[in-house]
Every structure is written in C-alpha cells, then in structure tokens.
Symmetry: C2
Subunit: 361 residues, 2 copies
C-alpha cells in the first residue's frame, strides 16, 4: 500500500462553508475540484451540488436550468414517489427508471451543480467564492460537473461534464484570469466524461484522455484522442479498460487528474470503481513521446475510501480526483470524498513510482 | 404518402451474386451501401456480411479479425447455445446477454462485414467485385459497416462504423481512386454511428451528422459536429431526437444519405426505427448557411418496409440508406432492404419538397 498521507485538516471544504446560490437551495456537496496555481495561490474550481429544500417525504424535487422568454431561469419540478412505482428512487443522486420496460435510464438528477472557486495561499486553508463563478447554461440544463484545468500557453483550459436530458457530454471553457470565461461548446458528445487534456503538444498534437460509455457493445473504458487546436478531436484509440483481474476496477474506469510530467514519463492519477460504485484512485505512467503507450500501472489503489469522511456522505465510498499538484517531488492530490467534501492527500513521487508495475507490451 | 417509385428490377444486388471471401464463409447480406459517381459510373460501396458455414443447430459460430504473430487473421469462435442459458440468441445478427445481471449487452456479432464495390453504367445493373475492396483491420475485429461517401476537393471521404469488443465507433478512410485507401482512424469514439459529412465547407467549417448512443441519460438521437479539417471534430450539438409523437421514430433516429444541395437548402434523407426495430426513411431540409437549423421535416416516412424484399430477409422490416444521387430533379435512393439486399427507389425532388412540413423555430 502506498505511503499516502491524508491531510490532518481533512476535510478541507465541506457543504456548510458554501453559501447556497438561492435561498430555497441547500448545498449537498462541494467536491470533485479542478486544480491549478494562479498568481501564487492554489485555485480549486469546485463542483457545488445544490438541491431544493424539501420537507415532504413523498416528494423528490428537481432543479433545472431552462430558457424562459430568452432568459436562463431555474425551474423546479416536483415528483411524487408514490405516483411513480415505475421509478427507482434508491440512488440519492438521481431518479432512474426501474428497468422493467427497457434499459435502466436516469430520468432526473436530484441536484444541480455549478462551479465555485476556492483560493488558498498554503494549499490547506481555502476561501470559497460567495456566489457561483460558472453557472450552467440552457444547453447544460441538468448542471455542470467535475472540472479539470490544464494550463497551456498562458490560458487555462477547463473541461467539464455538461449534462442535459440528451446526455452527459464534455464541454470546454477557456479562461486567462478566472474572471472572464470563453465557452467553446461540447467537444465530446454524450456519453463521454472524465476528459483530461495533457498540458503540452506531444509531437504535432494535443492529447486528451476521455471516457465514452457505449450502450450495446463495450464498457465504461478510457480512450485517448488527438487534436491540432484543443477544440476539435479525432484519432480516438481505446486506452485502458475495466478488468475482472482486480475487483476495484471491474465497474468503470476514467481519467482523474490532469496528467503531469515527471522524469520517468507522464503520470496519470485515474479513478476506477467496482460494480458496487466504490471509487478508488490508481496511477499510470505513460511514454513521454507517445502517451498512448502505458509503461506502468498500479496493481492496487493508491487511495481508497477508508476515512469516515470518504465512506460516508452524499454518496459514500468515493474518492475521486480532478487534479493534482507536484511540489518538491511530492504529489498533492485534491479529491472529492463521498461526493460532498474536498480533501487532500500527499504522497512522495518516489513512492508512487515504487507502486507502479511495468506493463508488458 | 410520397410518390416514390421502387425500381422494377429490385432487388438490384442479392447475396447469391456475391462471392464469399473464404470457402468456409457464407454471404448473409449485401446491403447499406455508400453511393457516389466515379469516372462516369455509379459506385456502390456495399457492406457484405459473411457468416461461417454451420450445420450444428446448437452452435453459433463467430468470425473475428485478430492479429496473430503480427498478421491479421480471421479467427472463428464457437458457442454452444445449450451451455449458455444466460445468453439471448433471438436476434439473428448478434448474441446478447439476457440482461438478468446488468444491462443488456451484445457479446458477439454472428457475421463479419467488409466492403465491396459494385459498379454500373445505368445505375440499375451492377457488377460487384469478386474479392473484398476494404477489409476490417485488427482494431475493427468485429467488422466494418454502413459506409457513407462524401466527395470533397477531389477526394472521397468514407465514414463507416468500425466495430470491436470496445464498441461501435465511426472511422474515416480517404481515397482518390477506389484503389488506394488511406485509413485515418476513429473520428467518433464508441458508441457513435451513422456519420454523414456534408460535401463542402459551410462558413469556416465542415459539418457532420452523427448518432451517439448514451448509456445513462438520453436516447439514440442525431447530433451535429463541426471540423476544420475533416479529421478532428468538435462543437457538438444535439440535432434531432426520437419522438413519441410519431410511432415510426420512437426507437432510434440517425443520419442516412450524405446531405445534398438543393435550391431550398440541404436535403437529408435519414432513418428512424420504432421500438420493434422497424426502420423507415424520412427527409429533412436544413438551412443552407447554418445546417444546424432544421427548416422542414417529413411527418410520415418517405419510404417504409412494404415490399416482400423489405419485410423479409436477414433482419426483416428494414429500409436503410447510406447514399442518394440527384439526377435531373429526381432523387435516386439506394438502400439496404431487410439487411441483406440492395434496392433502389426514385422520387421526384418536388414530391419530397411537397412532403416536407415547416418546423417552427
């Protein structure tokens, strides 16, 4: 097991520290944050998930963004549990069909997510914005989730999951100052999440890990794509799939942190979940000049949900990262715990290298 | 109902006219052909689906492409039906999980598809290649399907479904002469099919219709993407979805023929299927300068499976087009019938326009 050290102050940010964006909203979670440094500070671009205050046991209340008379507006829909025996309300995050008449599908999300910036000089004590920094637009009517930040040539490229009734896609926003945001639209159509862009051109191309979820054939696996301009992507290749060999990766696998450059190659901290939706983190080492080549992988998780703040929360048994920092040979992993808090764990780079086992080509 | 005229010689190409690529193979279908003109001839790039000769009632035999000692080789796997009560063998085209332990998934395809060129001077009498013109590679181990051909600046851009155990993706091949083929890899990762590229730049971008199939949220709907170079795609937008309003489009909807330019706008012949997998054709009219704008749609199918060669075959009740020609104000639709034959139907452009009903924006 990797000598990973959870931060003593964990969790670093919790829902009660976040002011709701509306009076009738309740912050369910602050988690899965993109990470970068800007003007000497650590910036976490936090996913904030809000639900609607609700005291009626039989009701589920659904917040969405809609355009009404040309103005983006939050609309609240109410569903009666007793009137819908055909729905499955067992997942705190979403309402599903029960799968009796066709495939199991998500019908509603119980929360609406937006992004808020948390800033820190020491990487431990954070101050989070009082109001949303990036809010979903009409085409993201079910919310925006899980941002990753890649710094390239003076600009911050933010990939994130944009959700609507048409599916969970990946969109791109570019900013230079975390004040003005330039929306570039959907770069990977539904269903595709967990997109991390490498921080520089490799050969003639930019690269991005992505995680499509095919319906009829195939699993929720990682793929890798190439781009000349960061806006348009092609040359997709299957990269790393779920596996029956290890129980912690038999459900789904996807990009986690933005890849970072090390002396041995590109280091990728990724997530994997088992069939019971228990999410862990693993690490990959990729060839410097050809990131489609996996040199080494960790056989066991480098972080798995064990602390109480990881096993219990809005959705328990989850550790999920969208970004890491490398400081003086230490990997600083910021991660969402149990889908409602932000935590930090540090690990010496040499310890991660020790855990990486060569992958035979 | 549109005044569409089925060709008297239908079906134009049937499996018995196609020589199998191996002695132990049987041609199950020749269908879903890309269409273009080259050197004064009509070229159909036909999907040829082959199965392995099999006389044992209890067995299902699966052909696949694998790389063995660096050489692409056809490998045949045999499955015993009686040993797999957990499999669903009811679909002639594929073996499915029965859905009792998790989502219903395709485990195997019963046939392996490749492409073969059929040529004709009159557009009715075709001569088909004796051997495959384009054969699946290792990364397309389950076959290549449903090609569409777009002629742009002296080259033919062929989009097609490339299938492997990782899913059904869309790949691109470029040719100038239908002899040498330049493989450009996967442009849309799994699951995404039915990609049709518009035949010219519109504004600054190329456009393509595509049909992702998201797992958790959303339906098998049409999307539209943009590209600067035909190789890399972005700016995805949801375009046209399945609908409960008409029973013929409540299952799935996807691009059909490559869009063609008419005096009124871009004309798109698309396919839609109901929940029983009955496939029909409809037509759309799109804005010349902004093909994301749908000006008009057909309320009823312009072609639906009615003739015996459309209702009966390898998979019955299917009409499916990958390409049309426009000749002297007549739309010539080449289409796959019942997943095993190629047919032709002609319709006056003015009759299609009559059927198109304005879509309120």
């Amino acid at each position: 097991m990797t000598a990973i050290r959870r931060c003593e102050q964990n969790p670093l940010i919790i829902p009660s520290q976040v002011k709701p964006s509306r009076e009738d909203f309740k912050v369910e979670g602050v988690f899965n944050c993109g990470v970068t440094k800007y003007q000497g500070e650590v910036i976490l671009l936090c996913r904030v998930a809000e639900s609607v205050h609700n005291t009626e046991e039989d009701k589920v209340v659904i917040p969405m963004v809609k355009k009404i008379d040309g103005v983006e507006t939050i609309v609240v829909e109410t569903i009666s549990k007793s009137e819908h025996p055909d729905y499955d309300f067992s997942d705190s995050r979403s309402v599903w069909t029960n799968g009796e008449n066709g495939p199991r599908k998500i019908l509603y999300l119980t929360s609406l997510s937006h992004f808020r910036i948390a800033r820190s000089k020491d990487g431990v004590n954070f101050t989070i914005s009082e109001t949303p920094d990036i809010f979903p637009e009409e085409s993201e009517s079910w919310g925006i989730e899980d941002p990753r930040i890649t710094f390239i040539n003076g600009a911050y490229y933010i990939t994130y999951t944009s959700v609507s009734c048409y599916g969970a896609s990946t969109s791109l926003i570019v900013t230079k100052d975390f004040v003005e945001y330039d929306r570039k639209g959907i770069i990977f159509a539904a269903e595709n999440k967990d997109v991390t862009i490498f921080p520089e051109k490799i050969g003639d191309s930019y690269y991005a890990l992505n995680r499509p979820v095919p319906m009829a054939i195939g699993n929720p696996d990682m793929w890798i794509a190439k781009s000349p301009d960061l806006l348009h992507w092609g040359n997709q290749k299957h990269f790393l799939g779920v596996s029956e060999e290890s129980s912690w990766i038999n459900g789904r696998i996807g990009g986690g942190a933005v890849p970072i450059k090390t002396e041995k190659g590109w280091l990728v901290v990724y997530h994997a979940a088992d069939r019971d939706n228990r999410y862990c983190l693993g690490a990959l080492l990729l060839d410097f000049n050809d990131p489609t080549k996996i040199l080494a992988n960790t056989k066991h998780p480098i972080l798995e949900p064990e602390a109480i703040y990881e096993t219990e929360g809005f959705f328990g048994n989850v550790v999920f990262t969208c970004g890491v920092l490398l400081e003086e040979e230490t990997l600083i992993i910021y991660y969402g715990a149990a889908d409602d808090k932000i935590c930090r764990a540090d690990v010496a780079l040499c310890d991660v290298f020790d855990d990486l086992e060569s992958v035979e080509s």
